[in-house]
Amino acid sequence: MAHEYSFYPGCSSQKGASGSNQMVSNETMCDKLDIKLNAIDDWNCCGASVGYSGGGELARLTISARNIAISEKQHPDQDLIATCPACWLATRETQERLHDDPQMMSDANKALAEIGVEYQGIKKPARHMTEVLVEDIGFDGIAKPVTKPLEGLKIAGYVGCQSNRPYGIAGESFENPMYLDKMSEAVGAEALTGYEKKASCCGGALMFSEQEKSQALVKEIIEAAYDHGADMIMTPCAMCQMNVEAYQSDINEKYGTKFDIPVVFYSQVLSVAYGSTASEAALDGQLIAPKKLIDIANK
């Protein structure tokens, strides 16, 4: 029987948005793993990480509470999950904050009453897509649909920040999370387990406002992947993917480097291992073509 979840897609996953390659490949991957995602109808933005200053605390918690309340109404018995680490974090944080602070809870519901919505409180913590894979499917389950083992492919698993901190995946450490490495190995690739920048920050939204400071961070993330002989960097986060992939030519110009390394989502890597075509795995959505992965997909 299919695993079913209430799904919060988030802004960057929209058709034609910066993370649409994640959306497409995630659907492909879920098909192969018999996971059914039921998108919440009429979801809104979570406020992401920079929403704090324009939004303040209560408005930010209120907009996420709206998503949770709608999800519980539409898919009452299903876990709420998100592919985007920021969406997940904001949702889960809202559940905790409103649970711990009755005044905040009451105020959030006063604001929600303006649109006739009521948030009833935490039922089950929101989950990240990778938690579904690790906990509900398991690494054996991830290995099962493999038809094209990714032999010889060297992958630097770049976990980044918000899928890892402050909540993270159960059983993992904040400093050296291993789940991406285990995923790589489950589909026959070589995991570069010693990749020391796996949990480093890419600058997040500050890539837009503080480009130099953020690009200095990304430079180190890429350099370390090259040091380990990586063919590609693999991440669960749309922000990380964009920041590490899109500015390589800027960084090259600034630092005299010659970076040209593909940055893909784990859902793209798994999809290819499961026999999907390059376009089903959204490999045409990359700015730097992951040639080795495309070759395997075309085989």
């Binding site: 034609g16 920079v50 929403g51 605390e57 209560l58 105020d107 006063k110 649109i115 402050p166």
Partner: protein, 208 residues
Amino acid sequence: MSDLNQKMVEKYKGNFLQEVINNVEEGETMKMCMQCGVCSGSCPLGPHWEYPPQHIFMLIRAGKRDEVLNTDSFWNCTSCYNCIARCPRGVQITHVMHGLARYQKVLGLAPKNQPTEKFSQLFWDNLVQKGRVNELKLGLSLYFMNGFGEGIKTALKNQKLGMAMMKAKRMNPAEMFGGHGVKDPAGFQKMVKKAHELEAARIAGEES
């Protein structure tokens, strides 16, 4: 000095720690700080802060209100949560830094031309308009946040990336005309407005 700022100075009479505890997101957790400095050492942009988090906590305890509310330090927070993950005392540092930035802004003290302050306001305004972020409009407003001439320069500089994103179907020019959103944006805005009113009333010490 803004009216609210004046009011707060009078209300807390030099007890800045209490002011932070009462008005800054997760502010009460900073009471647990033992000045170990792990937060400052863990921050990816640590070297760029005038006062890194540990120093800010010390300044708050010392009642150095002007120093804290006039620095742009916390706008360097990338929300990586390293500090929270490593703090041995459970201080919700990331949130306190966000909260200080927000409080500074509410008091009318946000530093002029702070790029992250500007961007985060653009981001929030963008999302409130339709309930979802319109990446194209956000990108363009970001280019032009420092004026028209600067905007044209930035847009030209980023043209190559924009074209590549479009080719990869990760940027949609049609978003300029409408774009995605919630079904009832007016209702969404009403809800956000109510939340802002409730929060403002709480900070001003009025019963909601």
